[in-house]
Symmetry: D2
Subunit: 344 residues, 4 copies
């Protein structure tokens, strides 16, 4: 039997991807679509400027959008996916959780809160235990769970795989696609024949979120991983797919083959949206490339390549689809984990 | 009185830039244009598919291209600028120098040879002293001098300015324009909606050439700078201008303001093509950007921005025009230095 | 002595171009900058996100922006350049003219009004006579003059040159740069790896405005040219420069050489911003191209090429810089004409 | 039982698409791959720089490439798909046909030959009758059949649908993707921030091939359609998908709705690769767009939109995937027709 789910912020770019992924999902059934007041009461077709490269799913097009308000969402909806702007999310997500809903959120607000699990199911599913802490502390019936930022998700699986060699220090330079900024986030005048060497707040997210994801949970709190992470974030004229140049200083001194083996053998998780092979390794030095490789594993795999040793560790490139593995797919995967673990 | 100069490899992308810059030059007069056998005997207009954004200079268009052979170049030509493919350069440049010509070369062959000066005039003009060593060892009358790779030139002035704080270790990620690969080096199918995380040999050039440029010359040989440099090179869909994300570990712990001051106060050199301000610093965190800032100082300045401290030093971005400061302009600047120092 | 001028809508993309062109202008002196209420009272540097590829002119950066209101503009300002959004222009421009100002406007409102001159000085300077009609009918002291849409301006000089052969029918397909939609008009998600075969209202403007520009003025009214014009307008991923494929059915049957001669011999006008050669003709069939040729004549020339005869006339391509010749430069040229003719 | 087929020119861009489409094809089985002498004897994986967005099909990767010579192809191969450069095709295709092979060719040579069927199965399947003429005249056992140029295929289905209203005269302006020039046909330096208003020979192909496709076959020869077709061809920075602005002068005066109905009701054909709906019509004026709509009908549909009446007929836009419907898919569809009609 399908779980009835809702999408908070259903008309935006990530909201559209959520709907595209949820419509054919075997375990979830779309039962509520929310947006801001201006869209409430309109059909989804009218309210959303649909831009995903497949038609609006049947049933969704003519559904009526409601306001982003717990009162407006049916009680039998068990799980909400949130892709609200972070300011709105900060204000509204707690209201939904207080009203008893479980919220799997892609919004950046609250990710580093002590009692909010920030999870990538293949990496730190055990952090879900924070939900008990959260309920105790806040007196909530529901639960709030976050997935990290798209640029963080792209890198963290590779770092988790490297941690067996003693992860000490990380430098990462990102080449991020324009879709990461939302449909209207980057104008064409800004980015044609250009790159922008700054994305507000992004480096800080990569530096803090990755340490939380790689941290250990003792049943009460998450200790941040001790690695020093320093990021530099760039916007490039690519539609989808974040590519990242990573240097990892390691305690040990593995050969490139050992690093490749660590990547390829890193275990996945048995959930619907998780790919068979979490990290795919290319031998060609000029791969992965965004346009050629962003859809690996249905857009849910991480690709790695260009592995070389340095004086103190290893350098390599990694790539993931920023609106699939990095946003909508990440929230859904967290929802699948919550379902599997019986949180609703 | 103008010095009569020649261009070896005059029909290629860098050759065209050389001609564009030499035509109005106050001290140089174009007196010879060479290319491969297929072009020899044709007018320059016919032989070159001119693609620079200003018309072919008068006098050049109807000049006859000769073969890249010392016999074909007039004896009264004092200085040759070489933008030959490196394989051709390795074979032919020594012939010209043996025949007595002074060659200022942009080709990558021989840059790391012990007795070949690799210079950026504002950084290590004193390395020109290697010419004496070169003449002694090879028995040459002329001289061979090299400028570094475009991606190296972009970064090295900033590293030279930081060395007062004790430069220890460098990580650099490049976002390089397609013009760096020559007119036909990157196809549109490769780069539209894409980035390529690998440029053959480029990372190695950055790692070795920068240490030679920053090294000290004791009158007999150049000792490489001890800094550990690790590079990751990417091609992006930008026409001109290489942007680079740099992390520099330093012995000292300067504030961002001190770094900015070190950049801005780094001295230039009194040569025609050298900009008044060698390193221009932006306060806006999203600058410099290739399209907006590549033409600073007539394409000969280096732009820096995004300066932030890290746990062990500083991170920042830098940018230079890759075919001006990074190639044709670099060779001409070396030619101006040779003229100033009386080498021909 | 310079005429003191103002810019209505000074912070937008065309407003910035106007300032860039007016600052060094020999006959005009910037004395007023207006914008919407949110910007009023701030310095221009603060109010405008300056994106033109040269620094904000001295004097302008620290000038205070005032509201777009006749009361806020000094009385000694003789001429106003307007780049207001058309809705605002329709509401506000008449207020300024009623208050006695002469307004040279790039805004699309009112271009087809019977008593408003729509002019390209090299084409129909005599239409300025409509100002008398306008003053009579509206009781205005000032004057309102319009320049046409950027895509219209690109084509009309070539049509005017062809009219000697009896212009009968025109088909035109445009490939328009993103800057024509304003700085934020086209998002990167819309246009990377894409083209958009529709620009709202643009085809209609080309079809009506060109017939008014080519029409004859009898001292009382402008009779539209009888040619049938049909346009199809496309947005392409180009920053600046509109390229247009034109077919002109003609009464006569000129050879391509005669058409080229008609283009090249079409007279310019002796005004500061008008290029020496109004229409430049390329013999290479693949020229003009936007990136290579948009800056001809300081961005004020029209380039043509690919001239071939058809069964009923001729086909060719034309190109102009859409924010120079097609917008800001067009308004300034009209201002120069008004000055020359003594309208203020 | 599958027919054993071969691909002539298997390593090029269209050759790769052919293999991608043939590998899963229910009726065809890849049994021979040919290329130039330099590739012969190598595995396909080695010989081809595979760039299609799906992996090299199993079985193909390790197959040995043979020379493009009838001797080198097994006798039990019944059908050959040719994507040879036109010069090679002109020399070699007749040799294969003389040796008894049936060749479905995408190469441009010979398309306008009187005894060579140039077919789009949904449009003029009856022209296959020319094969008898061909065999009679040339004494061949095999057969040579051509599909038209990619830009022609995009437009002709819409013209065929309009012919019920009396097609009289056509103007067409194309915005063609870079993949149409082959993998290395357009360099990034040529096309970033640019468009090129000329594609050698393309306009002529559109003007002649479309009249042959729309012509009538009386059992002995094809009479060209009388419509006057004039084309202007542009290359734009799009990866795949040719968009075309079309004006059709008609004898009748249909309303836009009647034109849409004519498009949508135009019959397809019952062959494996033919889409259910040959021409899909968009009501949104800004559709079809290449990136959003090129994959309609598995890349084999034609999309139309922007239908408006003109003074003498109708104007509209159409779009098709240039390497699917416009090249590899077109050849395969012709192969399916030949199979259906029992030609091998």
């Amino acid at each position: 039997m399908s779980t009835r789910v809702g999408v908070l912020g259903a008309t935006g770019a990530v909201g559209q991807r959520l709907i595209q992924l949820l419509a054919p999902h075997p375990d979830f059934e779309i039962a509520a679509l929310t947006a801001s007041g201006a869209s409430a009461g309109r059909t989804y077709r009218d309210a959303a400027k649909w831009r995903v490269d497949s038609p609006i799913p049947e049933g969704v097009a003519d559904a009526t959008v409601v306001e982003t308000d717990p009162e407006a969402v049916p009680d039998d909806v068990g799980l909400l996916f949130s892709s609200l702007p972070s300011g709105v999310g900060a204000a509204v997500e707690p209201e939904f959780v207080e009203a008893g809903y479980v919220v799997s959120s892609n919004s950046s607000n609250g990710r580093m809160d002590d009692d909010v699990p920030l999870t990538i199911p293949e990496i730190n599913a055990d952090h879900l235990g924070l939900i008990e802490v959260q309920r105790d502390e806040r007196g909530w019936d529901g639960a709030l769970i976050k997935n990290p930022n798209c640029s963080t998700i792209t890198m963290v699986p590779t770092l988790a795989a490297l941690d067996r060699f003693g992860l000490d220090r990380v430098h990462v330079s990102t080449l991020q696609a324009v879709s990461g900024a939302g449909y209207s986030g980057v104008t064409s005048m800004e980015i044609i024949d250009n790159v922008i060497p700054h994305i507000g707040g992004e480096a800080d997210k990569m530096e803090t979120e990755s340490r939380k994801l790689l941290g250990s949970f003792d049943g009460a709190e998450v200790s941040l991983h001790e690695a020093d992470v320093s990021a530099s974030c760039n916007r490039v004229p690519t539609l989808d797919g974040h590519l990242e140049n990573v240097w990892a200083d390691l305690d040990e001194d593995p050969a490139p083959e050992a690093v490749a083996e660590a990547f390829e053998s890193f275990p996945g998780i048995d959930l619907h949206s998780s790919p068979e092979q979490l990290i795919e390794v290319f031998e060609e030095p000029d791969r992965p490339q965004p346009r050629l490789d962003r859809n690996l594993g249905g857009g849910m795999a991480v690709a790695a390549g260009g592995i070389e040793t340095t004086n103190r560790g290893v350098q390599f490139n990694c790539l993931a689809h920023n609106t699939m593995r990095g946003a909508a797919g990440a929230s859904i995967l967290n929802g699948e984990l919550l379902l599997e673990e019986g949180y609703f």
